[in-house]
């Protein structure tokens, strides 16, 4: 690997355009995966997430713009080394169904030119909880087991970057938590992650940064805080008072120009021009109403996404992979 590969940006698209006939799948898209991060790639169905990943990995050619992996431009000399130092799981696990889990991993290790891969294979099977099923043919696995095996295969060869396309697809809630925790821990072992997901809450829970795309174009990019800030959504406050004091509290807060919604059982949602939470506490205390709870109700990524993209996309929506 050349010195140029030792960069903090592990993967990048720079003004990449990809057309399929008259359809523009990617429109001058730029994104970056920073070393040591878990970066989310978000977008509704057909927004170009998978196409962007394919271009990054050299599986699809860009019509314009530049794509690079570990500092090496797609198709340039040394690109194959960069791909070998990356792992990928695209559109579900690609498994040889009639080969066992272990054989699937041996094939991947051999394709990457790894000698004596047995210890690593054992470690990865253990990590994804498939040691006991190592000799079972992959076709007999549940979707969750296939996803875990796919993740293990992507990690063969100790890659610096792992690109995961919808890694929690088809998993039950426990499986989702399991995979999420696995992904969150990857940077600790020196593996950076680019993960695309239609599950916005998932991305919010496991990513440090995110790139939001819609119709092949960049919508927002940055750390989670930056993206939440870009949306310009004001956070509300959640306030809890004694149930019998809800009505006076609503009246008091409404009196100073705040919007108050009664959520029931003494719980109120307060929004409006609030400088600080203590302002609410102070105003209510002045009326003899004391809070039992006051917390910031931060905007979630879902509301941010809807704000930035102008609502649900009629072409796809957020329930599918792009």
């Amino acid at each position: 690997m050349s010195e140029s590969a030792l960069v903090s940006s592990l993967a990048s698209l720079d003004g990449v355009t990809r057309r399929f006939g008259s359809t523009v799948a990617l429109n001058e898209l730029s994104l970056e995966v920073v070393e040591g991060s878990v970066c989310g790639l978000l977008g509704p169905n057909g927004s170009g997430k998978t196409t962007a990943i394919r271009v990054l990995l050299g599986l699809s050619r860009a019509n314009a713009g530049r794509a690079s992996l570990l500092g090496v431009e797609t198709g340039a000399s040394g690109f194959h080394e960069a791909v070998k130092m990356s792992g990928a799981l695209i559109e579900g696990p690609a498994l040889y169904g009639r080969a066992s889990a272990r054989q699937n991993m041996e094939i991947q290790a051999a394709a990457r030119g790894i000698h004596n891969p047995k210890p690593e294979i054992e470690r990865l099977l253990e990590m994804v909880g498939l040691s006991a099923r190592a000799e079972t043919n992959a076709k007999n696995f549940s979707m969750g087991m296939k996803q875990r095996l796919g993740l293990a295969i992507a990690l063969v060869g100790s890659p610096r970057l792992v690109i995961l396309d919808e890694p929690t697809n088809g998993l039950d809630p426990a499986g989702i938590v399991e995979i999420r925790e696995l992904i969150k821990r990857l940077p600790e072992s020196g593996v950076s992650v680019l993960v695309s997901s239609h599950l916005l809450a998932e991305v919010q829970l496991m990513c440090d940064r995110a790139t939001i795309i819609n119709r092949g174009s960049l919508v927002a990019d940055g750390t989670m805080d930056e993206i939440l800030g870009q949306a310009g959504i004001e956070g509300a406050y959640r306030v809890r008072v004694a149930p019998q004091e809800a009505a006076p509290a609503i009246s008091t807060l409404g009196g100073i120009g705040l919007d108050v919604a009664d959520l029931g059982s003494g719980e109120l949602s307060v929004s409006g021009p609030i400088e600080d939470g203590s302002q609410i506490s102070c105003v209510l205390a002045g009326s003899g109403i004391y809070l039992s709870e006051l917390r910031r109700d931060n905007p979630d990524l879902e509301s941010v996404f809807m704000t930035l993209t102008g609502g649900p996309d009629t072409e796809g929506g957020m329930s599918d992979a792009g």
């Binding site: 791909v83 990928a88 690609a94 040889y96 009639r98 041996e106 094939i107």
Partner: protein, 241 residues
């Protein structure tokens, strides 16, 4: 190349190809014990030559088609994205195994069928088996490449098998009967080369075959290189799903 060998080891299609040729080989032994090997050791053609030919076409298609059939090409190319190298690796493994299986079965055929022919008028001739081995090696080599190339061209397992068979039995036959171009058909040229290697002027289906010339070798080579080039070009230029 090791990854391709591991795929061959792990997948059922190569195993079934091998099982099919072994079953035919065993049936050949039974037939030889019961009825003898034939005046010109025909048992070798029927029980070894034809089964290995069919297995070679199927195996040639499978070598590429398995990646399309199981959607594993993206995984293969994200392990190592050098597509041309992948084509050569697969081609090398395929030809190695086709040659190995064909050669080993012919080597085994001589002593085993000779032993099985005891008590019959004819015995198995060493020179007949050697000639048949050379001819079968040539045919299997060529037809496995045809299967391989069509799997690349169609980017499909089923498409590869279908188009390879259509090419072998229809397109090439049509070419061989169309005036002015009949001499450039691959099948008849290959038949001439195979029969010459066999030292016979009779083809696989009993037809009279002219002696091969250098031009026949060139025609076969041109077809194989052309089909392979077409397949490789398609493979190198297309998006991988």
């Amino acid at each position: 190349m090791r990854a391709e060998l591991l795929k061959v080891r792990s997948m059922p299609t190569p195993m079934w190809c091998l099982i099919a040729v072994v079953i035919c080989f065993v049936l050949g032994i039974v037939g030889t014990v019961l009825w003898g090997p034939g005046a010109d050791s025909e048992v070798v053609d029927i029980a070894v030559g034809i089964p290995t030919l069919i297995a070679s076409i199927v195996f040639g298609v499978w070598m590429v088609g398995v990646e399309y059939g199981q959607n594993t090409l993206r995984r293969t190319l994200t392990a190592d994205p050098r597509r041309l190298r992948l084509v050569f690796d697969k081609l090398a493994v395929m030809l190695l195994l086709v040659v190995l299986v064909t050669a080993v079965l012919h080597l085994l055929a001589l002593p085993i069928y000779d032993l099985a022919s005891q008590g019959h008028d004819h015995s198995v001739s060493a020179s007949a088996v050697k000639d048949a081995a050379l001819a079968d090696l040539m045919s299997n080599f060529a037809y496995s490449i045809v299967g391989f190339a069509f799997a690349l061209i169609t980017a499909s397992m089923a498409g590869g098998v279908t188009m390879a068979l259509v090419f072998i039995f229809v397109i090439d036959t049509v070419v061989s009967i169309v005036p002015k171009i009949e001499n450039v058909a691959m099948g008849p040229a290959l038949e001439k080369v195979s029969s010459s290697l066999r030292g016979s002027d009779v083809g696989a289906f009993g037809e009279n075959v002219d002696a091969a010339h250098a031009s026949d070798v060139l025609i076969v080579a041109a077809w194989l290189i052309g089909l392979l080039a077409l397949g490789a070009l398609r493979f190198l230029r297309s998006d991988v799903k």
